[in-house]
Structure formats: C-alpha cells, structure tokens
Symmetry: C2
Subunit: 356 residues, 2 copies
C-alpha cells in the first residue's frame, strides 16, 4: 500500500523514550500488514527552545504539514517554566494546533482492567466507565485577543473568548458522529446561564440536533458536569465542549479512571489528518531512566491507524497485543503492584511487538 508519512515529534522528558517504542510497533506492523511508513523527526517544545530558540521551528511545522499524521511524545518541563511567553513549550503546542487546524481533541477516558484499583473512586462507581471528551481545540479564550492595559483600578489584564457558529458547528457535528458510533448519547457542556458564547453553543447544538435524531442530547452546565463526572461517571458516553471547559473536564475525566498513564488522544482537523499523543505529560522526574510506560503512546498509534489511515486491522492488533501483554502480568513501574518486578520502557515495547 501507499507509503504514509508520519511526522515524529518526540519532545521533552520521557517523550523520546516512549516514542521510540511506538516506532518499533509501527515498524512491526509494516512487516505484518504490508503497510509502509516514512518517519520524519522534528524538534518541538523545550528542546526546540534550547536548540532553535523557538518552541515551534518552521522546519518542524513544514514536516508536519507534509505528513499524513503526527505522533507527539510530550512537551515541557521545569527548565522552561519561567520563560517568557514566546519561549515556552505551551506556546508551541497552541501554535501547532492552530497552524495545523486541529480543531478537535478526542480524549477517551476508559478504565483499564489492570488499573481499576488505581482510581480514587469506588470500584462500583467506576464500573462501566468508558467515555470520550470531544474538546474544541482552536477557539475560545485560548486564542482570543489578550492584552494588558492601565485601568482606573490599576493594571488590567484581558482575555477574550470568541466563538463563531462555523467553529461550533464543525466540532459539534464531529461529536454527534462519534456518538452515533457509540451509545448514541451526547452531553453538550456549556455555561449558557452566564456566557454569550455558551448560549450560541447551545443554540447551535439544538439547531443541528434534529439531523442526528438517533442521538440523545443532554445539555449540562459545566459546574454540574464537574460534579456529575464524579457522581455517575459511567452514565456519560460522549461529552462535547469548548476549549477551556474541555481542558478541565477531560483531565478530571482521565484522572477518575485511574488510568491516566495509559490514555491516548487524537487532535483532528478537516479530513483525515491528525496529531496523536499520550494524555500524560513529559514526567521530567523519570526522564532518561528507561522506566516510563510507553503504552499510552503505543495506543496513540492504534488511534492514528484507525482514525487517520483506516488501518483497522493493525489498530485492533495493537490494542489486542497491549491487552495480552498486560493480561500476562507484565507491568512498567507506574502500573506495577510489585515494583520489584517492574520492567522498563524498552522491554514493554519489545513485549508488545512480540505479541503483535
């Protein structure tokens, strides 16, 4: 089959280590399924600040723009935390989302069997929790005008939250489509009792809902959603919301599964292009030690295969291999009950490759 170009952005902290295992897995699928991948590596985040003076060098953006999909490890670390805005890894992250038009962030929150005790929630509450947060990623208060000014009461800071109907419609449609493929329940989260952007959001959801009449829509206020995620996590299926609320709620949802180290995510635009990355961060405290868990990144590859390439066979094979390796009792340190039996990043990658 046709060669797929994958831009690889290993990033900072444990990023390079976990990405290396994901590449092993992709190479194995070339052998097994006859797919062809071409990898191009780009500097991004803290390492790009250090080496190129900017978190998102133009070369990296070019590599991504020429690619069919992007695999991202992790970015950031304390080293760059006190930098000025233009020299911070997050600025690169926001820049790449905008430049690549990745308006939709898909974050599944599922409970892994081997981690069900890792949640702080009671097992009976967690039982059956399997939801997806669809977060708008290139609009809202993240990207609106921001500035300082002198006011009557001293210095003033301003952030602007803007949404137009086109932006709302495309993310909401995508969420409806995701819901149609699952339990056909969509919770749209907003703060329509306070915000004008939320009122436009809610009107838009209501306007297009009849086109997806098989999906049951519920409007939930963001504060109430933060509570209901705790009270009845398993009752949610697909949650769609704007950028800032999605940032908060997707992290809350991920954490309540107890499986945050195993969760993958996809950031999508128009068409099939997408950027895939683990939900966890760059974990600077364990970077370079070869003990990070590569599973979230490997599962991000499965997501890429499914959503961008339509390689359902290889996607399922990866997910099954991960499951089998876990079922056989292999664990990296973060998920091991008996830490003395924990295996390293490379060993976990090799086992998954062998199980494919």
């Amino acid at each position: 089959s046709e060669t797929k170009k994958i831009a690889v952005i290993a990033g900072d902290g444990i990023g390079p280590e976990v990405v290396a295992e994901a590449i092993k897995v992709m190479k194995k699928t070339e052998e097994l399924f006859g797919y062809k991948f071409e990898f191009e590596h780009g500097l991004f985040g803290g390492i790009a600040i250090d080496e190129k003076g900017t978190p998102l060098p133009q070369e990296t953006l070019d590599i991504c723009q020429k690619a069919d999909a992007v695999l991202l490890g992790a970015v950031g670390g304390p080293k760059w935390d006190n930098n000025s805005k233009e020299l911070r890894p997050e600025t690169g992250l926001l820049g790449i989302r905008k430049a690549l038009g990745l308006f939709s962030n898909i974050r599944p929150a599922v409970v892994f069997d081997c981690l069900k005790d890792a949640s702080t929630l009671k097992p009976e509450v967690l039982e059956g929790t399997d939801l997806i947060v669809v977060r708008e990623l290139t609009g809202g208060i993240y990207f609106g005008e921001k500035f300082r000014r002198e006011g009557a009461q001293g210095e003033e800071a301003v952030d602007t939250c803007v949404y137009n109907v086109t932006e709302i419609e495309r993310i909401v449609r995508q969420a409806f489509e995701v819901a149609q493929k699952r339990s056909k329940r969509l919770a749209s989260v907003d703060k329509a009792n306070v915000l004008e952007t939320s009122r436009l959001w809610r009107e838009t959801v209501n306007r297009i809902a009849p086109e997806y009449s098989d999906v049951e829509v519920e409007h939930v206020l963001v504060d109430n959603c933060a509570m209901q995620l705790l009270r009845r996590p398993s009752s949610f299926d697909v949650i769609v919301t704007e950028n800032m609320f999605g940032d908060i709620l997707s992290d809350e949802a991920a954490m309540l599964t107890g499986s945050i180290g195993m969760l993958s995510s996809a950031s999508l635009g128009e068409g099939s292009f997408g950027l895939y990355e683990p939900v966890h961060g760059s974990a600077p405290d364990i970077a370079g030690q070869g003990i990070a868990n590569p599973i979230a990144t490997i599962l991000s590859v499965a997501l890429m295969f499914r959503l961008t390439f339509g390689y359902e066979d290889a996607a399922t094979a990866i997910e099954t291999a991960v499951k089998n390796v876990l079922d056989a009792g292999h664990r990296t340190g973060d998920i091991a009950v008996d830490k003395s039996k924990a295996i390293g990043t490379g060993a976990m990658g090799d086992l998954i490759v062998a199980a494919l």
Copy 2:
C-alpha cells in the same frame, strides 16, 4: 446587644422550607444568648420574576442594602429555565452579587461523619479532607462585556474576561488571611500558561506572598487542580481562584466530599457584611413536601454569626447542636440510610433548636 438586621430571601423550590428552620434556630439564639434579630423578607429569583417581573426587584435590593447580613435559601427551577436572560433567576444572582459588592465566595468542603460513605471516593482517599475554596465572585468572564456580532464565518459570540490588580489583590489577601487561620497552605489556581488574566493573577499572588510569609503558596494550573482534587483531596487546605474556575472547582470539591447537601457558603464584601446560603440548589423535585434537609441552611447561619456578627458562641452552639442531632441518629431522607426512619424538614429544625 444591638439589633442585627437580617434580610431573608427564601427564593424558590425548597428555599422557603429550609429558611424557615434557619429562622427558628436564630430565634432560639436570641433567647439563649440575648442577641436580637430583625428579619425583613424579600422576593428574589423565580418567585420575583412571577410576582414582580424581575428576578431582583429594587425593594429586595434595598432590604439587603439596609441589612447587616443576608440569608438566601435557593433560587431557580425548570419553570424559568427557558426565559430570556433578563427574566432568569441566575441574572438576579449575578445582579445581587455585583450590587452588594460580594467579591468573595467562601465554600468549605468538609466531610460529615454520617455521610462519609456517601462520597464516590474511597474512604481512605477522602480521609481528612477539609478544604475551603475562596472564589472571586464579581469579576472575570462573568461580568465582562458580552455580545454577538456578524463575522466572516457567520454569527459570533464574545465574552470578555477582565481582571485588574485591585480585584485580584483583595480576594487573594482574603484567601491568605483564611489560610493563616487554618493550616497555612494556599493553592492559587490559574491557567497562567495560556491566559493573560491568569498571568496577572499569578504575579499578584507572588507580589503579596512575602507579606504572608507564614503561608506556603503553591501555584496549580486549573486542569491539574481538577485532577489533584480527585487524587489527593486531603492535601488541599485553602484554594483561591478566579470566578469561572472557582465555579467549577468548588462544585467538584463539594461533590467529592459526598456531603453536598450539608455544605454552607458565605459571600463577602468589604467589611463584615455577607450573604449566606446553602451550597445545594432549589431541588424543585422535592419542593413543598416538607422533606428537604435544612442543615446546610442552618449551618449557613452559624457561618453568618461567626463571620459577620462575631457571635462565636452562638456559631459554635449551632454547629454542636447539629452534630449532636446527627450523632443521635436523626436523619432527613437525603442522608438517611433507612429511608423509612427519615424525619421531615420541620422535625429536623425542631431537634436542632432543642439541642441548642
């Protein structure tokens, strides 16, 4: 002692029922401690929309402005949910906060012994959880300019989030003072990696922190805070944050205690004036049945006595009475294990009065 004027806003749903019990308790403290209260009742919320055509009638505002403190029951209900903005109960709530200058919302999240199993969190995770969220209440995206406009991509909605240093400083100072009276740990929550208002917030916290050198300050990003509240709730003491984040996080914090039906809150301005209300809503489904739990409202009175009037003796007496009644096994339906033994709103109020 001098007569204190209390504006009583019973509001909607179960509001009038729970407020009636709180008044019983206040009257009893007049007898026991020699205090004198004068109650003036005002219409507010849905009932004010129905009777006066506005959620916050001028008469009600006048009553509040002449009072030393306000006791609020609950507002809102499905009946008014689809009204236009000016005719919604929430608009009254935002209006009263602004008109009375209530810039600080104090929301304790504590676990009640008799409810510790009601939480969806594991008991060992919940153990020792006792935190306060100090939420900025009259600024930010709630009160910034909001409008619609026609853009290149269709209709557009805009919300503006504005904070000036003066607003930030007064709420942060108050949080420092709350922290000084507790475990001397303050978590300031923002999104300084994205928002300009958050950067001004963080700078302000850092600037005034040296004046409270006995308090240990931690900056937490809002998405991370949503996670950490779940992972290590008992490690938080005082959390201070802006209006929108505070709305979400205080509800998350309240829900994780499992005690949401028992929690009280205070909204304060400059000086000792304050508005006190239970954290729970108007519960339209059980309104008028005489089965609502009045404890959160009664504990809001204790908070009023302590924070506005300095009546520490009566505040403590109320809290002890509530504890004793609960310890003796009395329960309203919401907190009863054996629902058949549940007592009503009035009976619970009477028991607390008797225990005083």
